[in-house]
């Protein structure tokens, strides 16, 4: 028989602190509380009172082998959730799991998702409390799946929501905003949000080595944030990634492995590596936590709009998780009474025509995506042919009343230039996809011209400069005399600003 003690610890200034009764659990599983495996004898559990009331999650020992096999380092020492996280739930069958570094249901392989105690959060997480905090993603900490204070990526998020009137005029709409994660810290993409959560959780799980399969932005973010946290990282990328994204990973001292294959092949390899080595792969065994970080983009949009949600959101899609998590963020704010009106946002997915599994599914009325074997697009950050959340993204888009489209490489470049020249935002190719898709959807009449639209810009153009090499040409070069400049001006219809 193993006995476990439970200690009520400080849950941070914004979380309830109530005494809890000590309890014991025997090996026969007398309670269904998510406990610890019998062979672990001395562990401190940090538990919030709301969590105690949720006794339907299965005991951890039932899944011990499952977890130990996947992530042995986790089994050595760790805490059980003390946040408003109730546990994890299979998105297909609803089976409940304790909080562990596992990403799929052992019954049906369905994805696991974090389940929160929304009733417990009502009145606890207030607008006043939120607005008094620093404007970054952690101001919504109670709705993110970490137990204590974040330890990685403390300055991530809090990016601008830009009123985009000049771009709006160009694409023929009246009320347009840009959520600009191209300036996210530290690696200039929305991936810093997901990595901040995943690595903070990896730290809580006691994982020392982390990794990812990446199309570039995630590689940058895992490498940088792991370096700052003193973690070792293994980054797997397709061998044809943009040079800037490779350098922007190697510079942090990460172990970078270029794989001769598509992203999907890299991803499959990483799943096998995760099984073999038990590292914390942010988008594999840490994926349920990782994906939750994307919600912060949605939380910020709603708050920046004055605690309301837009009528339309256009999101780039690679793995397909972002669009669903922004939707989940809106719904969560409503559930805990931070929004007065139930969100009715329509979501639109944007992909490149050279890799359009999700937009293809939406446009053709398929229940789920059909994988694209060999993606062929300049937008490498969206070049995922077999997106993990493809089914859910297509379902959400349809059910919200939105739509999906894809755009050619030329349209992507035009979108990048249009955004840069109208709003001064240099987005990467995925941003070009989003802008060009939004324009196409407006032209098709899918998005009404007079309603409020938010475009999600997820990465910085400095990482994908090669994509515009043929568009921009070389600046005029002159000597140092005024005469040369005047001559240049007279020969140029528009002033040349290099």
């Amino acid at each position: 028989m193993s006995f476990l003690s439970r200690v009520a610890e400080g849950l941070g200034p914004s979380k309830p602190q109530q005494p809890v009764e000590a309890f014991t659990r025997n090996d026969a599983g007398a309670t269904s509380y998510p406990g610890l495996p019998g062979e672990i004898r001395s562990v401190v559990l940090t538990v919030c009172p709301f969590f105690i009331s949720k006794l339907k999650y299965p005991p951890l020992e039932k899944t011990t082998n499952f977890i130990a096999g996947y992530c042995p380092a986790y089994m050595e020492e760790r805490q059980v959730s003390s946040s408003f996280v109730k546990g994890m739930k299979c998105r297909l069958c609803g089976k409940l799991y304790p909080v562990t570094p596992v990403n799929f249901c052992q019954d049906d392989f369905g994805p696991l998702e974090i389940d929160y105690d929304y009733e417990g959060l009502k009145g606890v997480l207030t607008k006043e409390k939120l607005e008094a905090r620093t404007f970054n993603m952690w101001r919504y900490q109670e709705l993110l799946p970490i137990d204590g204070e974040p330890t990685v990526g403390l300055h991530v998020g809090g990016t601008p929501l830009i009123r985009a009137d000049r771009l709006a005029k160009e694409i023929g709409v009246k009320n347009l905003w840009i959520k600009n994660d191209a300036v996210n810290f530290p690696t200039l993409s929305f991936k810093d949000r997901v990595v901040a959560v995943a690595l903070s959780k990896a730290h809580e799980f006691g994982l020392k080595t982390v990794g990812c399969a990446s199309t570039g932005n995630l590689a940058n973010s895992v490498a940088a944030n792991a370096a700052a946290a003193g973690m070792q990282s293994y980054i797997f990328i397709p061998s044809d990634l943009e040079r800037a994204k490779v350098m922007g990973t190697s510079v942090y001292g990460a172990n970078v492995i270029k794989v001769r294959g598509t992203y999907d092949e890299v991803n499959r390899l990483c799943t096998q590596v995760a099984f073999k080595y038990g590292w914390g792969f942010v988008n594999i065994n840490l994926r349920p936590f990782y994906a939750e970080g994307s919600k912060s983009m949605g939380f910020e949009i709603a708050e920046q709009l004055g605690w309301r949600t837009p009528q339309h959101v256009v999101s780039p899609m690679a793995g397909g998780a972002l669009v669903g998590k922004v939707s989940k963020a809106f719904q969560e704010l409503y559930k805990i009474d931070l929004l007065k009106q139930e969100p009715s946002t329509k979501f639109y997915g944007a992909q490149a025509t050279g890799c359009n599994p999700i937009s293809g599914a939406v446009k053709n009325g398929w229940e789920s995506h059909r994988p694209v074997r060999k993606p062929n697009t300049i937008c490498k950050s969206l070049a995922i042919g077999d997106p993990a959340d493809g089914y859910f993204a297509a379902k959400l888009i349809r059910e919200s009343g939105g739509w999906a489209e894809d755009v050619t490489d030329d349209e992507i470049r035009e979108g990048m230039l249009l955004l840069a020249k109208t709003e001064g935002v240099f987005a990467e190719t995925a941003g070009g996809v989003t802008v060009a898709t939004a324009r196409k959807l407006v032209e098709q009449g899918r998005i009404p011209k007079n309603e409020e639209i938010v475009l999600l810009i997820t990465g910085n153009g400095l990482k994908t400069q090669d994509s515009l090499a043929t568009q921009l040409g070389e600046p005029v070069t002159i000597g140092t005399s005024l005469d040369e400049f005047v001559a240049t001006m007279e020969n140029t219809q528009e002033p040349v600003l290099a």
Partner: protein
């Protein structure tokens, strides 16, 4: 044909704690069927009403079977079949 099926670590408790199981089959579908006969607990995890579950991917020598002939893909002696959860990446 003798085919080795690699079992993902988390599911090994349902396959006698084995890392791989060798079966005789001429297609991928047959190979998985043999696996389920040997370890019946795998059946409900891999299949739903006879259909491979949505979030299960099967690879033959690192090639996704969807790009071949799905469960009808022929296998030969020494082939390795990997069962890989689809919920990863992005």
């Amino acid at each position: 044909m003798a085919v080795k099926i690699q079992i993902p670590t988390p599911l090994r408790p349902h396959a006698g704690n084995l890392a791989s199981v060798e079966v005789i089959a001429i297609t991928v579908g047959e190979a998985l069927g043999e696996l389920c006969k040997l370890h019946p607990a795998m059946e409900q995890r891999l299949f739903d009403n006879g259909q491979l579950r949505r979030f299960v991917n099967i690879f033959i020598n690192d090639e996704d079977m969807r790009y071949l002939e799905n469960l009808a893909t022929p296998v030969k002696d020494g082939d390795e079949v990997a069962i890989i959860p689809a919920v990863a990446g992005g």
